[in-house]
């Protein structure tokens, strides 16, 4: 088994002067990236193998250097999204217990104000001129990186990804989507998420060039990056595909027509969006996948034929998917179970052990298969809401808003939305004799929640639908 670092180092030998990474005006060759990574690894050599180092950075060259430098030093990279609230960051840090946090000039003040006691530095402080480093032997089950996802109660749970997980998933991405050394890949996705990180791994493994963008906020910038770099692939969430269609309806085909691949992920994609892009791509394909952070890229779907635009595809070789339902008929909806080398062995600190039984992860997603084995997603078992790929537990939002004076109780549900897949709607019961307004609730949410957790709609309600035991029936509000 090759680790991602070994794959990368092989490509340093094969393509030393080739650009591995382009970010704005910075063009970094394989050889130069290797030097930077080694330098960063050396400066970490006072820490022991397996130490946890948190990365709190936006997409940048420093992100890639820090991430690979940590792995190269035999340590675990804990990836913190920069859009998290201070409370969520503290929860993650207390749970992950890192020895060091790497950040940037623009973010270091935020992280320094967080109540967690460890050394906090910016990437450039870790670039040194020494040349001797410890030589770590990495084992398959050593942890490569740690990402947190929403637990069923809204408390974050750690997902430790081993080098074997990364290797298996990267091979699947490459094989299923034909990534190769001549690819030039546009990536506006955050590297703190599994989707973006998987694209980085694939690009490094095959010896191609990654054009990393800060984010997907400016869709014209994405289109111009494709043209400027003669890109061959683009990876974006469905929301961005929809935005490009709406914002640049008359010109987008001029920019993306020559791509060989557009890769998106498993939030709902409007059928018309798939059809539009398929028409515009001259020789290219549009594809999606289904997976969790805990079971990355469990299926792949290439939309190369009519009639299955709503499917997320089939599992690649080595991954099994079962539908657990009362009837045992996989054509009927039930919970999706996944088994394979892409599935984590356990959660961080063995939390939520009951989610993985005999190697099968119980996803909480509901789905069904068609007669040819293609998987379709039908919803969730619990209150998890998926807003353009950002997953939020309803309880997490409810807990924050419930303490607001004037709110007696709140129930949050996901509503279907063409642009975002789902959006959040909050049903609020006001306290007696209190005239709190929707604007006041929204202002409170904007101040206390991450932007993707703020409700799009608020409806005041006299009482919630309840069953005979008085329990709120969330599904009747959906």
């Amino acid at each position: 088994m090759n680790t991602i670092i070994e794959d990368f180092k092989n490509n340093v030998k094969d393509y030393p002067e080739k650009p591995v990474l382009i970010f704005g005006d910075e063009i970094i060759s394989y050889k130069r990236l290797d030097e930077l990574i080694n330098s960063l690894s050396i400066s970490l050599s006072n820490l022991k193998k397996g130490s946890i180092i948190s990365i709190f950075l936006e997409n940048s060259v420093d992100y890639v250097v820090s991430y690979l430098g940590i792995l190269n030093a035999g340590m675990i990279a804990h990836l913190i999204p920069t859009n998290l609230s201070d409370e969520k960051i503290i929860q993650q840090l207390n749970n992950a217990n890192p020895d060091l946090i790497i950040s940037s000039n623009s973010l270091i003040d935020k992280i320094k104000n967080i109540r967690y006691d460890c050394k906090k530095v910016i990437t450039s402080e870790l670039i040194c001129n020494e040349s001797v480093m410890n030589d770590y032997e990495l084992a398959e089950n050593d942890i490569s990186y740690l990402i947190y996802t929403s637990g069923t109660t809204g408390e974050p749970k750690g997902v430790p990804i081993t080098h074997a997980n990364v290797n298996f998933t990267t091979r699947n991405i490459i094989n299923e989507l034909d990534y190769n050394s001549s690819d030039i890949n546009i990536l506006p996705l955050p590297l703190s998420h599994s989707f973006g990180l998987g694209c980085l791994h694939a690009s490094l493994s095959v010896g191609s060039t990654l054009v990393l963008l800060k984010n997907a906020g400016n869709t014209m910038n994405i289109l111009e990056s494709i043209k400027k770099n003669n890109a061959t692939t683009l990876a974006v969430v469905p929301l961005t595909l929809n935005k490009i269609l709406k914002e640049h309806e008359n010109i987008y085909s001029d920019y993306i027509g020559n791509l060989r691949l557009i890769m998106t992920n498993s939030t709902s994609i409007p059928v018309d969006t798939v059809k539009n892009y398929r028409t515009v791509l001259k020789n290219g394909k549009i594809a999606t996948y289904y997976g969790l952070t805990e079971a990355s890229r469990s299926t792949f779907m290439i939309f190369d034929q009519l009639g299955r635009e709503e499917s997320v595809g089939k599992p690649p070789h080595g991954i099994e998917i079962r539908i657990k339902s009362e009837s045992s008929n996989e054509l009927e909806s039930g919970e999706i179970l996944i088994k394979g080398k892409n599935v984590i062995n356990h959660y961080w600190k063995n939390e939520q052990e009951d989610k993985i039984i005999d190697g099968w992860i119980h996803t909480g997603d509901i789905g069904h298969k068609d007669a040819d084995g293609y998987l379709y997603l039908d919803g969730r078992l619990d209150g998890l809401i998926n807003i353009a790929g950002e997953k939020v537990m309803a309880e997490e939002i409810e807990k924050v808003v419930r303490v607001l004076t004037g709110v007696e109780d709140i129930v949050v549900v996901g509503m279907k939305n063409e642009m975002f897949g789902q959006i959040i709607k909050a049903f609020v019961k006001k306290s007696i004799n209190n005239e709190i307004t929707k604007s006041e609730i929204l202002s409170y949410c904007i101040k206390n929640l991450e932007s993707f957790k703020v409700p799009r709609e608020i409806e005041f309600i006299k009482d919630f639908p309840r069953n005979e035991f008085g329990k709120i029936q969330r599904f009747r509000l959906e």
């Binding site: 997907a216 914002e247 642009m419 604007s439 929204l442 202002s443 904007i446 932007s451 703020v454 799009r456």
Partner: protein, 79 residues
């Protein structure tokens, strides 16, 4: 009304972009010049404008709101 609307829109921007304040606020500053104005923040902004001014903003109109000035113009012509 215009002056009140101006103030209310500014207050919405101060809430959504905590780094902005009276001294650095610029009506013409564009979406891509803000550090964190992504699709989710855009959604928050549209939701706040709708609630505050009791208006409805379609997806197509939402795309055209790319500065505080755009928000003001939209509100003034739809209120």
């Amino acid at each position: 009304m215009s002056s009140n609307t101006n103030t209310e829109i500014k207050e919405i921007f101060f809430q959504i972009f905590p780094d902005s304040n009276e001294s650095n606020f610029d009506w013409k500053k564009k979406q891509n010049e803000y550090e964190n104005w992504d699709s989710f923040v855009q959604l928050n902004l549209i939701t706040m404008l709708e609630e505050k001014f009791d208006i409805s903003i379609s997806d197509d109109d939402s795309i055209n709101i790319q500065s505080a000035e755009d928000a003001l113009n939209f509100v003034m012509s739809n209120k």
